[in-house]
């Protein structure tokens, strides 16, 4: 293990390390802590220039109440859920199938189809902006959650397929051969053998895609408008436009918007990190 376990170091070094840990963490998360503190401050703190001091009064309920009951934030949050969840399901389903096809079968164009997904996954998505917007308009899906969902599914499929295919490829191939010898039909192999084994990958990917989509801002502003369809990232900017310079409310709004992926992260931490590294390092 590198660096050397701190347990083998001298006692002062160990103490130094253990004190340094929380200090560095606080420094690292300072911006975030600031926002959290902002979000419970009263408005008067800001007009009086008390940005970084102790809150003048404790306004947690007021501020968050304002966000939840006096703004469109709940609607935006709901939109985000309605966009994110179907996208996750769709992208994971499509890519599981595609990953299965690319990971298990040998056919001549296999690698090229695979590369198509990989390359597509890495394009700067801005290049898609104009045509995708037009396409969505043409299909009558502009400013609908469906339009956003369809696009996200398609675009995420590139990344997910890369991930799934590598995962499936790392499964022991004899499992598939054993099933074939036993006379199991191909789609049943997918359903009964491969899919159950992909559970960790599915979970990891689902969490990962969830945060990606939840945090998407660019496509939200390209393909949707207004609280009917826009997710919370776009919502937060209009929320901010509304409460410009009302830092306490903006902070509360930002924290509310950031909460679901953060919760997701803490609940599914193991899968999440597995996802990042599986998807990436393989």
């Amino acid at each position: 293990m590198f660096p050397r376990p701190i347990q083998q170091a001298s006692a002062p070094a160990q103490t130094a390390y253990k004190t340094l840990l929380p200090i560095s963490l606080i420094l690292w998360l300072l911006p975030l802590i600031a926002v959290a503190v902002f979000s419970i401050k009263p408005a008067s703190d800001f007009t009086q220039g008390n940005y970084w001091g102790m809150p003048g009064s404790f306004e947690l309920f007021n501020n968050y109440g304002q966000v939840f009951f006096n703004s469109d934030m709940p609607r935006y949050m709901l939109n985000s859920v309605l966009i994110t969840v179907p996208t996750v399901i769709g992208a994971v389903a499509l890519s599981a199938m595609a990953g299965f096809a690319l990971g298990i079968y040998k056919f001549r164009s296999n690698i090229w189809v695979f590369f198509m997904f990989v390359a597509g996954n890495f394009v700067p998505f801005q290049i898609l902006m104009v045509p995708v917007r037009d396409l969505t308009l043409d299909m009558g899906l502009y400013n609908t959650k469906t339009g956003l969902v369809l696009f996200h599914i398609a675009f995420q499929t590139g990344f997910c397929t890369l991930f799934m295919r590598n995962f499936i490829r790392a499964l022991p191939f004899p499992l598939i051969e054993a099933a074939r010898v036993e006379g199991v039909a191909e789609w049943r192999i997918f359903w009964f053998v491969v899919l159950p084994l992909m559970k960790p990958a599915l979970a990891a990917l689902a969490v990962l895609i969830f945060t990606f989509i939840w945090n998407d801002y660019f496509w939200a502003i390209v393909l949707t408008q207004g609280p009917d369809a826009q997710p919370v990232t776009a919502g937060i900017t209009s929320f901010n436009a509304q409460y410009r310079a009302a830092y306490h409310l903006m902070s509360a709004g930002s924290i509310v918007a950031a909460l679901p992926p953060v919760l997701m992260f803490f609940l599914m931490q193991k899968h999440f990190i597995a996802g990042l590294t599986l998807g990436a390092v393989k």
Partner: protein, 308 residues
């Protein structure tokens, strides 16, 4: 175990699908993904190429103008600024890699609670860039901002990071480095986990210590993690949009634009009606990215040839 117990399958009575099951199945499984991907990703890339040859305001009729948009780009100082900023992003965003490595090394210990520390250090990556942008914009506020306040403590004047064209881009990059460093850190943490402990021990017997150990033994073994960190960081750098949009909206006077932001501005923003011009910028961005995509695919191809 008699022959009669076996299904009578010798004759070519089997259906076409059954006979070609292995050949057909992958395509059935691929069909939906390919369809979606083609419609929303592949075809639009080519459409963008074609739109870039038109003068089109997105409302009326498009007019074919050949390479004129590109010719204009050559002479567009805002484009030049964006290009340089993209370069800055590319270079300085890569700082996330050593920074991530550093933090990973710092955290790669087994003391109580270290898992919590690791996840909290990773935390910024989960936040939306919109939130990160807001947070850092406040952090940088010229008078009230925490940064200025801290500088004041050490006797330095307040700085207006985002208002100063020479510093604004770096300020945004620094904001971007925050989550990106967290990402690289996680990659390196898992990479460090995979470093063969016996090799570290062998190196200790060989007398390698500290930096020498890191440089000669550890870093070379972290190559896969470094490669991925490199890829995601490059992609992140070229895609940077959210932060700029939130933190400076391209300003002051357009000095923090990058290509992706500039094309959005030209094509879809309040005063932007030039779809063709925007598409041309996107194409340039795509071509830059293509260098990296090609490199990535190439190294993947090399690996694949070794595989199954």
């Amino acid at each position: 175990m008699t022959v009669t117990a076996l299904p009578d399958t010798e004759t070519p009575k089997r259906g076409w699908y059954k006979r070609n099951e292995i050949a057909v199945t992958p395509w059935l499984f691929l069909a939906p993904a390919i369809l979606f991907f083609a419609v929303y990703v592949i075809i639009p890339i080519f459409q963008s190429f074609s739109i870039s040859l038109y003068d089109w305001d997105g409302l009326g009729v498009a007019r074919f103008i050949g390479m004129e948009n590109y010719a204009e780009l050559m002479d567009d100082s805002a484009f030049e600024v964006s290009l340089w900023n993209n370069l800055k992003w590319l270079i300085f965003y890569l700082l996330a890699i050593p920074a991530g490595l550093f933090i990973a090394l710092f955290l790669n210990q087994t003391v109580t609670g270290i898992r919590i520390y690791k996840s909290l250090f990773f935390f910024p990556f989960v936040l939306s860039q919109v939130v990160v942008g807001l947070v850092f914009a406040w952090f940088y506020l010229p008078n009230e901002g925490l940064l200025s306040n801290m500088l004041r403590l050490v006797g330095l004047g307040p700085v207006n990071v985002l208002g100063d064209p020479t510093w604004a881009t770096y300020g945004i990059i620094a904001a971007g480095l925050w989550p990106q460093t967290a990402y690289c850190m996680i990659l390196y943490l898992t990479g460090l986990n995979a470093v063969d402990p016996e090799q570290v021990e062998a190196a200790r017997l060989d007398g390698a210590k500290g930096w020498k150990m890191l440089w000669y033994v550890i870093i070379p073994q972290l190559k896969p993690a470094t490669f991925i960190a490199f890829v995601v960081t490059i992609i992140g750098a070229l895609r940077s949009f959210d932060l700029i949009s939130i933190m400076t909206n391209g300003g002051p006077f357009g000095q923090t634009r990058v290509l992706s932001f500039y094309m959005f501005e030209k094509a879809l923003s309040e005063y932007g009606f030039r779809m063709g011009y925007g598409a041309a910028i996107a194409v340039v961005l795509f071509l830059i990215m293509l260098v990296f995509i090609a490199y990535f695919l190439w190294s993947m191809y090399r690996e694949e040839r070794g595989g199954r």
